[in-house]
């Protein structure tokens, strides 16, 4: 029973991970365009609505915009392009 066996590794081949930097941060949300992305999970619209109200009470000069992707579970390049074109920051909620 002490004989050593050579066996195969059962795992697949993962892709190489390439580091990506974060975007520069803001000094403040005041006066900025902040997109609140409703990820379309059940009840996330209520959460995002509450978040908008909360932020509005504290950052009166921020332009808080609700936005939704066209579908759940799929990337929406058009939505991303819109946020990147005129947004200063984004908050995604709730979900991955």
């Amino acid at each position: 029973m002490n004989r050593k066996l050579a066996v195969h590794d059962p795992r697949g081949y993962p892709p190489r991970v390439t580091g990506k930097r974060l975007a520069p941060r803001l000094e403040s949300l005041s006066g900025k365009v902040v997109y609140l992305v409703d990820c379309l999970f059940d009840n996330s619209d209520v959460f995002v609505g509450q978040l908008r109200d909360w932020l509005g009470e504290r950052f009166a000069s921020a332009d808080l915009r609700l936005i939704k992707p066209r579908e759940s579970w799929v990337d929406d390049p058009d939505m991303r392009a819109r946020i990147e074109a005129d947004g200063d920051a984004a908050i995604l909620g709730v979900g991955l």
């Binding site: 050579a6 590794d9 580091g19 909360w54 920051a89």
Partner: protein, 435 residues
């Protein structure tokens, strides 16, 4: 993370049960310091006031006020780690360090490479014997798999599939079926919180060549081929996609018994209808495996008896409205349906589409319909847009023809049928391409 790359500072809000998964995905995307803020689980079913309390409360993962995490995530200066991300190579060797049999079994179990049952160690001799039953080169790439769409795909070769087939106890002659399943791109270890399983149906001559069971007990533990092919599919899915670890790469809240095995074959000889793979473009002398993402529910019945229409209507209403059923009929039942005028599977599917109805209010209240189909309806995509425009009390059709499948399986010991969660047919793969 895509928004960060587009120059937009971003915070993603998750519920706390997704913390390990969210951090693991961020790391695998080279952005481990992605700003994340967490609220308690669940969000579903909570009132506006309760969700407001989440915002006013603490982030349960970081232990600091949620709002502070959110604002800091958008405004705090970046550090060196934020500026560079994290690059690294991940490699898996072809062979493990030689060791004793007991220690290797322990390694496989502790590494999460098993389904918590004993496995057959994939020695070089066993893997070579497995590979002898395909003409494909061991180093040929078969495909890529991932547990869910937002994770990265891992790649694998013919040899890697053979390794997992050995571990499952499969015989070499089963390998072409297992390779076809692996090539489907459909994981048998999906990470969905709904606890999806993948149901596999085999058609064509390969069934008899390798001794698959489509008669008595076809869906049970009564065939080495059915049992070990299904097990191999599960093992290869978790190992070749980079794991299936609860809280990290598997989030099925309840899990699914069918994840152990949901592989069976169609009883083509006893069926009065054309085989499933022929319905979907293959010839009868070809072999194919069809994979369905589902397996959430099972409804059982007998007949068709005098009141079969009422039973079928109630059963179809009991199915999850987001995922239509695979209707698995014993050959006795299929033949009785022919006597009732259903001389083709499609006629029975059409009857089910017409009679599977729910009040629009009830259909749209379903969590997954609301999450996944409602946005399509709002975007004007049919038939969902019309379904959304219906009066809340109107009984609307809940399935499209492509959502329902009919297969014949069983050994004619009883006039029985099941409706098994199957959803849209994901893919049918030709087995002969992998011989």
């Amino acid at each position: 993370m895509a928004l960060e790359q587009g120059g937009v500072p971003t915070v993603a809000v998750h519920t706390n049960v997704f913390a390990r998964l969210a951090q693991s995905v961020a790391r695998a995307n080279g952005m481990p310091t992605t700003r994340q803020a967490f609220v308690p689980q669940p969000v579903v079913g909570k009132s506006a006031a309760e969700l407001r309390a989440y915002i006013d409360g603490d982030d349960p993962v970081h232990g600091r006020p949620f709002a502070q995490e959110l604002i800091s995530g958008l405004t705090d200066p970046l550090d060196d780690a934020d500026m560079t991300g994290l690059s690294f190579e991940r490699s898996t060797p072809r062979l493990l360090e030689p060791d004793s049999e007991d220690r290797l079994h322990a390694l496989f179990a502790e590494s999460g490479w098993t389904d918590h049952l004993p496995i057959v160690l994939p020695t070089e001799e066993r893997v070579a014997a497995m590979l002898a039953r395909t003409s494909r080169a061991p180093d040929e790439t078969v495909g890529r798999l991932r547990p869910t769409f937002y994770r990265e795909s891992w790649e694998f070769t013919v040899e890697k599939v053979a390794v997992n087939a050995v571990m499952a106890g499969a015989r070499p002659e089963y390998l072409p079926v297992i390779l076809a399943m692996a090539a489907s791109g459909q994981s048998g270890r999906s990470s969905s919180t709904t606890s999806q399983a993948t149901v596999a149906l085999v058609n064509g001559p390969i069934r008899d060549e390798i001794g698959m069971n489509y008669g008595v007990g076809a869906m049970g533990p009564y065939s080495h081929a059915n049992a070990s092919i299904g097990r191999a599919y599960g093992l290869l899915s978790q190992n070749l996609q980079g794991g299936s670890v609860p809280h990290e790469s598997y989030m099925g809240s309840q899990g699914n018994f069918l994840s152990y095995n949901a592989t069976f074959a169609e009883n083509e000889a006893a069926s009065p209808w054309e085989p499933f793979h022929v319905q979907h473009g293959h010839s009868p002398d070809e072999s194919a495996v069809s994979l369905f993402l589902g397996g959430w529910y099972t409804v059982f019945g007998g007949g068709p008896r005098e009141t079969w229409e009422q039973k079928f209507k109630r059963s179809l209403q009991a199915c999850d409205p987001y995922t239509g059923p695979i209707i698995a009929l014993d050959p006795i039942v299929a033949k009785d349906f022919v006597k009732l005028g259903f001389d083709r599977k499609q006629k029975l599917i059409d009857w089910c589409v017409e009679h599977a109805r729910l009040p629009a209010r009830e259909f749209w209240d379903n969590q997954w319909v609301q999450t996944l189909l409602h946005p399509r309806a709002v975007a004007g995509i049919e038939p969902y847009a019309t379904m959304l425009a219906a009066d809340p009390d109107e009984e609307i059709r809940i399935f499209r023809p492509e959502d329902i499948h009919v297969v014949v399986v069983g050994g004619e010991t009883g006039a029985v049928w099941k409706m098994l969660g199957g959803g849209p047919r994901r893919v049918t793969v030709k087995v002969d391409d992998w011989r």
